[in-house]
């Protein structure tokens, strides 16, 4: 299952909050793409994955992809 959230124009910590809201209740293995242009998102989304036990997949051109663990 693949979901996405558009956090463009949102400042830290909103992109991570939007990601966390979308992730809540989703089964392990769910892939979520976060579109974000805030420079902090590129650091904070991988950090969120580490703190929450999810897998950070990649950042490509402002799209940050995670897989729920």
């Amino acid at each position: 299952m693949s979901l996405s959230v558009d956090a463009r124009g949102r400042r830290c910590p909103l992109p991570v909050i939007m990601l966390a809201r979308l992730a809540a209740g989703q089964p392990p293995g769910t892939v979520i793409e976060v579109l974000a242009d805030d420079p902090a998102a590129a650091i904070d989304i991988p950090a969120w994955c580490r703190m929450r036990g999810h897998t950070f997949v990649s950042t490509v051109a402002g799209t940050h992809t995670v897989r729920l663990g």
Binding site: R11, C12, P13, V16, I17, A20, R21, A24, D38, P39, A40, I43, D44, P46, A47, W48, M51
Partner: protein, 382 residues
Amino acid sequence: MCGPPGLGWSCPGRDTVARVGVYFDSATAAPPHPVARQAFLAALDDGWADPGKLYAQARQARHLLDAARSATAAVLSVRPDEVHFTAGGTDAVRQAVAGARLARDGRRVVVHSAVEHSAVIKAAGADAVAVPVSLTGRVDLDTLASALNSPDVALAAVQSANHEVGTLQPVAEAAALCRSAGVALLVDAAQSIGRIPVPTGWSLLAGSARKWGGPAGVGVLAVRKGTRWESPWDSPVDVPAIVAAAASLRAVHDESARESARLAALVAEVRAVIAATVPDVEVVGEPDERLPHIVTFSCLYVDGEVLLHALDRAGFAVSSGSACTSDTLRPSHVLAAMGVLTHGNIRLSLHSGVSTEDVRRFLALLPGVVADARAEAGVAGL
């Protein structure tokens, strides 16, 4: 009260700090050490003349300047003629970089850790190689070694310890790599001078008096004999400020063993208590190999600026590396290089005016402040 009669601004020392709140930002500027103020006022009477002139008043100023230089050299374990006073820590770093480039004709590149102070990164400019760091902020020595292996390198820069997260850098190992590569090493020791022993093996060492309880606008650059470095410019010599800086340095150095042990125990307590009492918090930096006075953590889903203001209202002055608290709206390059959470970030930096009770009041208050910020943002339980 101090300052000119009638103007009556208050002394920024212990009493005022206690009255307006608890000051936890010594890594930006330490409250002036009492001996700095005494030395400054005395040197203003006796050391106002230009120390370069050939008359009695100048000789008196020169005598004070020489004594300040000797005292500074003794603390840094260098010779007095290796000590250069500068117009602040940033000027010391800029002189180090510009002087190394001058002396290494044609070589421009500065190899530096990715977590150096922005003064170093700005001084290095475009001709720079940033060496990555670990999750705890320690520079990667293998990458440093390969980056040094280039004919364009003029200088390497590795801080003694990180100014945002407190992690000590492996300076001795970095110095050995620089020695084999024939590259001078600049150690920005702004956060460690006067607190822990000065590292060894470096060619240039930079510091800032404001960080050790001296006045703003005085820095020090120590350059070991034989270093390929030429003085790029002369900084103004403010004798009373330099005398105050040296007096404060000697005082904090003399107190450092006891004081650093006291602060290190408080920092260890802060790290342990915050991790236990604040949910979803990341306490960053090396757990043990760290400065005695700095502790940093990031709270998930919380805006750093909201925390900063809430703590200010509660009477605690702290600093943050979160993007929302910076002029550029970019997160701290230190936290970014480490790959740790950049939002909800708070740095406490302690000093001699901070008591155990101050720290425990902060620790008792913090979980509620973070919980309120999360409730306000509607992220509780996420």
